[in-house]
Symmetry: D2
Subunit: 383 residues, 4 copies
């Protein structure tokens, strides 16, 4: 059951970490640390590490090998892993295609969708894949202004065909291309992606599953266990202030206030709305691949006593996200194989802003995930 | 369904906070912040705040009112609550009796058990109580050296009758007295208490329930959600170092290395045994009623990347513990009323070192608790 | 040598803390904790605590006693101090006058200067004071757009006389009034105040000293010893990120982005300009009188090793600032008595953004201060 | 002016970092980050980086190259620096000699002193060195029980000649050997070293300078600016609790309580004796070369308000210490060249427990150091 993993943003830090990590996993050089699916007892409907083949789009042209070297210098990828997988990285390099850049693309957006879909189909044919999962790991976009045409596929197609129009952001062009090519779609960023009514309708109609949004890798992960802790103990949270310091590409792209807005909105769901919760994202390039988050929670205990909890999380963004991308590729491919369509609401475990989820308690989400994976396996067996 | 709550250590900071808080709750001056049972839909088998009557033993003689004033100065009890409940505190004062002090007690330990049990029975009769729950909130004792007689009630009774013997620590004398008086027993400390085989056998035989050990109020509470978080995400924790700074009486009593040993053992269960986990408890009297805990967790992510999480928890020990004591009094009284006997293993939510529990994940414990409370209510209804 | 201390913002948290603290100090109820001048061996040219008389302007009308009660609830002023000084607070209350509010003031700004100066002169006469020091402790203003008239007193006076003009912000009106009344002026905020060329020229001409800007009470205080530490050890600071959480009035006033800009500019001077130094101020009303600052410093050691220092500072804003206001009143009164005029550049110890200072190393500033105070004493003696 | 730097513990992490760093500095591959002497304007009496030649003793036999590889893996030494200096490391390797191990040494301690001194003299002759500075960077020893013979060189020599006696710890044998060989001695550890009255008398008599004790590299460095900050601002520190987490060899050697005692004593001087100051050192091997310190300072401000400062310092122990060792080699060699003898009390800047120092304020120490270095230069010129 060979499965393609087509990464939007395939030359970025995260995609390159995914590539080095997957190749290292297959050679037994890397433990599946951080890979939740390694702990689940997944059935045959789900592909294994050996079944995955990587490809993708990117608007930049940095060679994968060069990016990988930067990740070695940045402490994300160990030197010996890089040395061992270098040759295979070149194979991944050959499966990469130029992405859609709205500033330089000469034609209509419909042409872009067609070109991207053709790339993905070519990848499937060339590697004789059973299916392909498209995962968006590119830079966060600014939120999109809704337009009436977003809710109606025919009207949307009409606008897309107009070379002077740019009705969809690049992440949604990628999502549309994925559907066009008959692929499942995962949004690991807070960008709009498939969250355009006309596209989600289309996915349902085409029987394609999708998942998102925005991988939960650090501050929000911790919040998704601490906020329920305060609730379970009936402690009254008064304020929950947070700061994020990001180096690397993520920090740079989030330095733009409109992109930060998308990210901040995505992060805010885990806390109750009545809590004072200032939140910042700062670009600190000298941190390199590292990211640091500080949270301060002021809460009241019995008799109104003022207490506090603060935490600092320090990690490597790509190192935290890459195993989740690999997990999602396996799980969404399995869902597709099992015939699931539409939003995969049982994958909230992975996301800051889960599609159709039922709350933000990480352990409730973990249970939901395990039950779903088991049910899917049974379903798959019945096929 | 009037229920007595008999506190061992009834003049300490925690017991006094329990008293001020309960009286304040009843007058509507205090919200049930930190009281988990307020969020549960408890059935008729459980007493309400209005049903609880306080009494207890203590070896010190500080008047309750004086201790309460210290708690006002220390920021634990608000001035206006103290002013409002002052008169009722005097009623609680009248229900306090001298505790058992092994250094000054003239007779045998059997005499002590009889005297303490008689005090509790007198309290029950005087206040016309349906039942009494005995809760140990006194200072932590050093661990006890096991003796063969601990496993055999007849042999134990023989030794207890010998005025020259001190075969049981004070917390176990209190537990024995509780059983003698037909009462349920809760150990909110890591002291030995009822954890003497002859006593737990007796409890079962007498149809009396008990719960413990060591209320989970801060550092261990946070650990009981963070350690499962790392596990859920397959992140590899390498070390988990902790420091506790305690003012107040708890800090002073834990300054003795043998008592600290009991506490440290109680706290260690929540982490996997292969983790490097140095842990300290420091007595810092100038902190007053506050306690501060710092934890540093070093963990590995994908590709072996070194990451860390650290947190600082700052709170008022008595303010964190008091609502749990009140919750436990209600829940254990309900269990007694419903006919439960022996260890209440479904109350792990409240304890650092739960009796017969099934792991340390706070949310699993919360679910267990809610299911148990609901089942009990049904059972109670059937009576 | 009786000295008036005329506070702009006299009904605010800081001014009220100054009042309660000074009255408590005089009664021996309060130790001079935080008062640097208590450790200096000040000469006769400087007034003592007993020599100080309080008065001031404010645009709000909250009674001082009510504000003091809020400070008792907020943990800044102890109940017993408030109870002891209540009667004397009423005397301070009688010395307060309505401040200048540009939105409601009916006349020209020149009229406002005259009215405010008359208030101060009346205070001096009524209390038979040798001199008055005016200290601005009101809310931070937005930065002022420079105008050519700011550099020329005649032109400025011309505009000030025009009822339709608002050429100066309130803090500068207060500074002008201070000079008009022959008083020294201190700016404890980052507002413009006396920093209008025409006003600083006037101060020099009139032989009046002034000091500022923006009291250094927490995060910047710590930075003023840590930044020189890194420098002394030749460690290379790469980034220094900071977050401030403020309750109370300061947080509310700094929630306005233009006011925050003034504060952030004032705070930034202590770090070298080539350091990546994102800095935030958040308004978190539920923190009450408390403020919390977190700083994260990423630095390089030998062989390029990446290291970090982070700190969290938690305090009561008014409790940190009040002793500095009292210190400054004594020191600036002494400077005035000794015949100093113009900017008091040796008082950088107290300020985030010192006037004419020589760097930000706190210990260099402390030495400078001690030498200056000693020289002044000598100078004063010679008079 | 060629100068030998003879390291006791020459195969340890610190010594190996010193070697890689010095060789890298000379090739221009490494900036002098962390080297205070690079910022000083040192005169001709002091050797330059190019003048230093490395050698040393060690009781272990791990090849320097292997240790350096471990430091590359541990993140202390960059791969490219290691690759560039590998050949020269082999030269340093040839200058290493077996150290004195009291457990295996067959003869008297006098023989050991003679053997070690002969090694150092051989090094000096072979490399045609003007002088040699001996620096102890070996593992911390337990404190030594004073004996009367320690105060009298003749009596000490008598005992040293007895093969059955072990009157001095290894660090003092090394110090004695240094004096024997006419060398200055520096103790970068809290071990006893030269602090034996008979040895310090001998140093004075022989005209040899010495310095120590215990390099100030992290927690104590930060304390040496923060404690004076609180003092300068008249804030009242109530408690100052600290925890240290150490991986690497230092953590392992300090896991022994008696050795930790030496370290803790050395660290405690910087705080006033009336402060509650619990302090721990924990061995956490999985941290590798990293060390982490957390400090919590509880202090009182004006009106008794309770405030706190906490900090976390995270660094690489060897990376912090190595530049100080290089600085000390240069400075102490200069002192020797200039004719200074006995304790170098002006080097407190570098030490946790300075010999004959005048307080712990880092900036006072920095000034003292700069003045001393300048005076020495002048003095050297006069020779």
């Amino acid at each position: 059951m060979t499965t393609g993993v087509w990464l939007i943003g395939a030359r970025g830090s995260l995609a390159t970490t995914v590539a080095c990590g997957l190749l290292g996993l297959r050679r037994g050089l890397v433990a599946p640390t951080g890979c939740t699916t390694s702990a689940l007892d997944l059935g045959e409907v789900f592909p294994n590490w050996d079944d995955l083949v990587l490809g993708g789009h990117d608007v930049v042209t940095t060679p994968l090998e060069k990016r990988a070297e930067q990740l070695v210098d940045g402490g994300v990828v160990p030197q010996h892993v890089f040395a061992a997988v270098r040759a295979e990285l070149a194979e991944v390099e050959r499966a990469l295609r130029p992405g859609y850049d709205p500033l330089t693309w000469p034609g209509s957006q419909a042409d872009a969708v067609a070109r991207l879909a053709a790339d993905i189909e070519g990848f499937r044919v060339e590697h004789d894949l059973d299916r392909v999962v498209v995962v968006n790991v590119s830079s966060t976009e600014a939120p999109v202004v809704p337009r009436p045409e977003h809710a109606d596929l025919a009207a949307l197609d009409h606008l897309l065909a107009d070379p002077g129009e740019r009705v969809l952001p690049p992440s949604s062009i990628a999502a549309y291309a994925a559907l066009h090519a008959g692929c499942a779609y995962v949004d690991f960023t807070p960008s709009t992606g498939i969250r355009i009514p006309a596209l989600t309708d289309l996915a349902l109609r085409e029987g394609l599953p999708y998942a998102g949004s925005d991988g939960k890798t650090g501050q929000t992960l911790v919040r998704s266990v601490l906020a329920p802790m305060f609730e379970a103990r009936a402690l009254r949270v008064r304020s929950w202030a947070g700061t994020n310091l990001l180096g690397g590409g993520d920090g740079a792209s989030l330095a733009a206030p409109d992109r930060a807005a998308a990210k901040l909105a995505s992060k805010s769901g885990v806390l109750a709305p009545d809590i004072e919760a200032p939140l910042h994202i700062d670009n600190v390039p000298s941190l390199g691949e590292r990211k640091i988050a500080w949270d301060h929670v002021a809460f009241e205990g019995f008799l109104g006593a003022r207490m506090s909890l603060q935490f600092t999380w320090e990690g490597y963004d790509s190192g935290l996200a890459a195993p989740l991308v690999l997990d999602l590729a396996r799980l969404v491919a399995g869902a597709h194989a099992a015939g699931e369509a539409g939003p995969l609401s049982r994958l909230g475990f992975f996301f800051k802003d889960p599609l159709g989820g039922t709350g933000h308690n990480l352990f409730a989400q973990a249970r939901e995930l395990a039950e779903w994976a088991e049910s899917l396996e049974g379903g798959g067996d019945r096929c």
